[in-house]
């Protein structure tokens, strides 16, 4: 075949039948991403070499932006396990058109979270103690094991996609491995669903068990701590639409249609349904918290909010504007199929779960428990933003490369004919 010099230099690596922008344009984009990455790398270097004092964290706010970031991306990455569950276990076939992306997003969220965790612990060289000297009573131990295992599962799920790269796939062995991996996917989806459900839950449990922190303690009713279930539900209620949003952003940036509206709408419906279930429980939880846990702790609802920064608006925004409202939009077919409303709801949904993770992390620590203690405020500094941005850049990089060279979207060729 004659070489077509109109095609980008690296065209031979593109997925079968797909077109991509020129390599130079791509490299400019990658350079921009790498600039952000470099900033984060510098922040990471400073943190690792000088200590966490470089960050805006302090003894009142031992957890801050990074933990919020981790929890949020892990929740939003839940699209991976939940879609996998539906696709492979419950056999909702149309989801095959977006499953690759959910896997990549999930992988990015989990590996990114683990990278941040390495920075966030004071002694990264001892990180392996978490496995070796595990305390079985600690929710964090559950989280460490499950996140690690699930990250491995996501790698296993991601690998065949890489192996399916056009040039790699010519190799017969690679081809065979990829094929066999695919056959095993339901198994991994099952394992993944189990692990992910578990650790989404233990992340919630991590907070719920803090019985001396009335802002987040959840006890005295049903299974303790019930934040376990709230976290699982909120993750599956937002993860799928997050994947859709990522997909849509990729569509906007590449100028191509990658997934049909039907698939997106289906993802929205799934998320909306789960979000609705979640909101029912979350509202009940909030009510129980305000009327049982707080009075038992000698506190009133008003005492748990402070000024603008930790004001009630956060709660109302989380519950209604970013909870009930998107849930209604996403479960009502007529509203859902209005694209503007759909995307608004998707964004609100993601914001809602992020607010939830933020207040559970930061506001929970800000709320004084000793009566003579004062409300303190926390603002992340450049080092924390930098490291978080590094993860975003890392995600952008992997997504860009995956999109350019891997057959991520089965519908792409058809949709762009």
């Amino acid at each position: 075949m004659d070489k077509n010099y109109d095609l980008p230099i690296d065209a031979a690596l593109f997925p079968e039948g797909c077109t991509r922008c020129s390599l130079s344009k791509f490299l400019v984009w990658i350079a921009a991403v790498m600039a952000v990455f470099g900033w984060g790398l510098y922040a990471a270097f400073r943190v690792l070499s000088e200590g966490l004092g470089v960050t805006g964290l302090d003894d009142y706010f031992g957890f801050g932006l990074w933990i919020t970031f981790d929890l949020a991306v892990i929740a939003l990455g839940a699209g991976a396990f939940f879609t996998g569950l539906l696709r492979y276990i419950l056999n909702i076939d149309p989801l095959k058109n977006i499953i690759n992306l959910t896997v990549i997003v999930g992988f990015l969220c989990y590996s990114g979270a683990m990278l941040v965790l390495v920075l966030d612990i004071g002694q990264p060289l001892r990180a392996w103690f978490g496995y070796w000297h595990a305390n079985v009573h600690s929710m964090l131990t559950e989280v460490i094991f499950c996140i690690t295992c699930y990250c491995l599962v996501l790698i296993i799920e991601y690998v065949p996609l890489i192996l399916e790269q056009k040039q790699l796939n010519r190799n017969k062995l690679v081809h065979a491995i990829a094929h066999n991996f695919h056959l095993m996917m339901p198994l991994f989806a099952g394992i993944g669903a189990f692990l992910s459900t578990f650790h989404q839950g233990s992340l919630g449990g991590m907070y719920g068990v803090l019985f001396a922190r009335p802002y987040i303690a959840r006890d005295g009713f049903f299974i303790w701590p019930w934040t376990f279930f709230l976290y699982v539900l909120s993750a599956v209620g937002s993860g799928p639409v997050f994947t859709v949003l990522v997909c849509t952003i990729m569509e906007k940036m590449s100028g191509k249609r990658l997934v049909t509206w039907e698939i997106k709408s289906l993802m929205g419906k799934i998320a909306g349904t789960m979000l609705t279930v979640y909101m029912v429980f979350k509202l009940a939880d909030t009510w129980a918290w305000a009327n049982d846990i707080l009075p038992r702790s000698g506190l009133t609802f008003d005492q748990l909010f402070y000024g603008w920064i930790y004001g009630k608006w956060l709660l109302w925004a989380e519950l209604f504007a970013c909870g009930v409202l998107p849930a209604i939009i996403l479960i009502t077919p007529s509203l859902r199929n209005n694209r503007t409303l759909f995307y608004t709801a998707a964004i609100l949904d993601c914001i809602g779960v992020t607010i939830n993770r933020y207040v559970m992390t930061v506001q929970a620590l800000a709320a004084p428990v000793m009566p003579f203690d004062s409300w303190e405020t926390y603002a992340p500094n450049w080092a924390e933003w930098g490291a978080s941005a590094m993860i975003m850049a890392y995600a952008a990089l992997i997504l860009s490369l995956s999109y350019r060279y891997l057959p991520v979207f089965p519908q792409e060729v058809k949709l762009n004919k």
Binding site: Q123, L125, R126, W128, F129
Partner: protein, 675 residues
């Protein structure tokens, strides 16, 4: 066999499998984590044998008795000495004394000021030669002045003897509570040093005097407080405090009488009036005149002048009258500049309460005999008023000295109107000589002012000096010799031995305290209440400023001779210093009146000086009063204190107390403007 790509991959695979089956990865992981407990840039523990040296803190103005813990000769802790008559706990400054030995600001060798103002290190021989040359020029006719920051040490006898040999009587102590008290006691016809027997009292009223933080032998006072206040039980001894700020003493006192700064004497007279009305009398010859004076201080009058709540005042008067062994202690709320009036009035109250020469009351303690023949004794030394003398020098009423020797004194920082002092003293010293720190030298503490008993405590070196320092006493003796004067003691140690003997102490045997307590008291006869002096002395004009100034003294930030020790930065309260900015306190009503809120930046100014601070609203401050933490605003020392906050002494200007002529600076006021 050529290794192809596939073969290479297999090799790698095999190597990986192999490595995992060896200790390399696992041992490295483990060792790296052990390394992380053992970083070379983190200091190590050094083991050794423990030993303990009982001594007394020369750093803490309370002269707290302590034990120094050494590990293989390295001092590591200052510990409590419960057997010591001045001990029974630690002050926040004495607790940090070991670490101060290694303060970055510590002088390591003698320094000489060069023409361009910089200090360069010189040898002791050069330094002593310079000192002798300098002193030679100042011979005869009060041309030499000596300023000492040590109120209780025998070292003063050597300095004053040297001055006397040089023909000078210009010997001064840094201002404190002892001088006004000595003046007052002398005016009343008392002999010796006035002592307050807190231990045996059942009701202690402190007027101004911050008895649980800075006044007198604080740790001894606080030990008495400890004994008188059984844990969690009803107090056996009641404490009342009168002062403008709810300070550390007020925080635990049963009663806090809020008064305007500088009105302690008025409050005391108001109480005297109430007590006399209730039938109290004094055997003093001038009691009738005193009664007449006191009668002027009706509750209304006192309330108007001091701002005190009349009902609370009456309640305190009643409690005093009812108490079996009441004791009134009056002084300045920041330990200086109070004048004789408050002490006079306070002692008059004690007389009315029958507390003179009584257990749990006022004691007259004998001064120790001089051990250096030419020296000025403590009584004489206490009569000299440094601030007044500096004022005279500045205004040309007294001849400027040719040479001034400062011993453990920091007048440029610690005297009122610090800026003017700086100008008068021509900026800085030509020669700076390091002395061993308190834990490195022999020294003594002889009956600190306020102590209810004669206590003589020896300071014993716990270690040899860490720097090229020489004991001041021996340097003075040597210098005197070079100047051709014989001070009559061969070594400072001899002076200490003689002083101990003079106090009836013998330190030949090793002891758990190196301290001696004596029951010696002088008779208190023919005490006069001196209403004549009092009536003049209390005639202090209210400052013509919208807001009165109340400095707040605390030991944790250091003393007039030392800055904040490294460990003590954490004890500074959050809204006292933030970064480099000082916070001042005022109550909500005052702040509202001035249109201020917490954290507002304001400028405090008066003719003496001005500086910018921030506002902290604290309800434990008298109305129309701003409370300024003292002990900050150092321009020297180390990173732990230098450049932090402002020095309140810059806002204080000394005036003369009518009737006694003593310098007073407790009634200052300031203008406040938003900055």
């Amino acid at each position: 066999m050529a290794l192809d790509r596939r073969g290479f991959l297999k090799f790698i695979g095999g190597a990986t499998a192999g490595i995992l089956a060896t200790p390399v990865v696992w041992k490295s992981l483990d060792d790296v984590s052990i390394w992380s407990q053992n970083w070379s840039w983190i200091p190590r523990n050094i083991d050794g044998a423990n030993s303990y040296v009982p001594t007394v803190s020369k750093l803490c103005p309370s002269g707290v008795g302590v034990r120094v813990r050494l590990v293989d000769g390295r001092p590591v802790r200052v510990l409590t000495n419960n057997d010591h008559p001045l001990g029974g706990g630690l002050s926040s400054i004495a607790a940090a004394e070991v670490q101060l030995l290694y303060s970055p600001s510590r002088m390591k060798r003698p320094l000489k000021r060069t023409a361009d103002g910089a200090y360069v290190g010189i040898t002791w021989e050069e330094a002593e030669t310079m000192l002798v040359e300098g002193l030679k020029k100042a011979k005869g006719g009060d041309k030499l002045a000596v300023v000492s920051g040590d109120e209780t040490g025998t070292i003063n006898e050597l300095f004053t003897a040297l001055a006397a040999e040089m023909g000078s009587k210009s010997c001064f102590l840094m201002p404190g509570e002892a001088q006004p008290a000595a003046k007052a006691w002398e005016l009343m016809g008392g002999e010796g040093q006035v002592g307050y027997d807190i231990e045996k009292s059942d009701y202690v009223l402190a007027i101004g005097a911050n008895v649980l933080e800075t006044w007198g032998p604080v740790i001894r006072n606080r030990h008495a407080f400890r004994v008188g206040r059984p844990h969690g039980e009803a107090p056996a001894v009641r404490f009342a405090y009168a002062g403008p700020v709810q300070n550390n003493t007020a925080s635990t006192a049963d009663v806090w009488l809020a008064i305007r700064p500088g009105t302690e004497a008025v409050l005391a007279l108001g109480l005297a009036n109430l007590l006399i009305k209730a039938g109290a009398a004094s055997p003093a010859a001038d009691f009738a005149e005193f009664r007449a004076l006191a009668a002027r201080f009706t509750p209304e009058q006192v309330a108007a002048q001091t701002g005190v709540d009349a009902k609370r005042l009456a309640a305190v008067a009643q409690e005093l009258a009812k108490a079996k062994r009441p004791l009134v202690i009056a002084g300045s709320e920041f330990g200086q500049g109070g004048g004789a009036a408050p002490v006079l009035a306070g002692l008059a109250l004690n007389s009315l309460l029958g507390s003179m020469n009584r257990e749990g009351g006022i004691r007259a303690l004998p001064y120790a005999r001089k051990v250096v023949p030419a020296a000025m004794d403590r009584k004489a030394l206490l009569q000299n008023d440094l601030v007044a003398w500096l004022g005279k020098v500045a205004s040309g009423k007294a001849a400027a000295p040719q040479a001034v020797v400062f011993y453990e004194a920091n007048p440029v920082y610690a005297l009122p109107q610090a800026d003017a002092v700086k100008a008068t003293l021509a900026m800085a010293c030509d020669l700076v000589l390091p002395v061993p720190m308190g834990l490195e030298r022999f020294d003594d503490v002889d009956t600190p002012y306020g102590c209810g008993q004669v206590v003589y405590a020896l300071a014993v070196p716990a270690l040899a000096p860490l720097v090229d320092a020489r004991p001041a006493g021996d340097v003075v003796i040597g210098i005197a010799k070079k100047l051709g004067a014989d001070l009559g003691v061969a070594a400072f140690a001899d002076a200490l031995k003689a002083k101990a003997e003079a106090r009836g102490a013998s330190f030949t045997e090793p002891s758990a305290t190196n301290a001696h307590v004596s029951g010696a008291v002088l008779p208190v006869n023919g005490i006069a209440l001196r209403p004549d002096v009092l009536s003049k002395a209390i005639d202090v004009k209210a400052p013509a400023f919208p807001v009165a100034l109340a400095p707040v003294a605390k030991l944790n930030v250091g003393t007039s001779m030392t800055a904040t020790p490294p460990f003590n930065t954490k004890t500074v309260r959050r809204w006292e210093i933030q970064g480099k900015e000082l916070y001042v306190m005022m109550n909500g009503a005052t702040a509202a009146k001035l249109g201020l809120r917490k954290h507002d930046r304001i400028e405090l100014s008066n003719p003496a000086g001005k500086f910018t601070v921030r506002v902290n609203v604290f309800e434990g401050v008298m109305n129309d009063t701003v409370a300024v933490p003292a002990g900050h605003g150092h321009t020297a020392f180390d990173e732990f204190s230098k450049g932090k906050g402002e020095n309140v002494m810059r806002l204080l200007a000394a005036g003369a107390e009518p009737g006694t002529g003593l310098s007073v600076w407790t009634s200052a006021g300031v203008n406040i403007a938003k900055a």
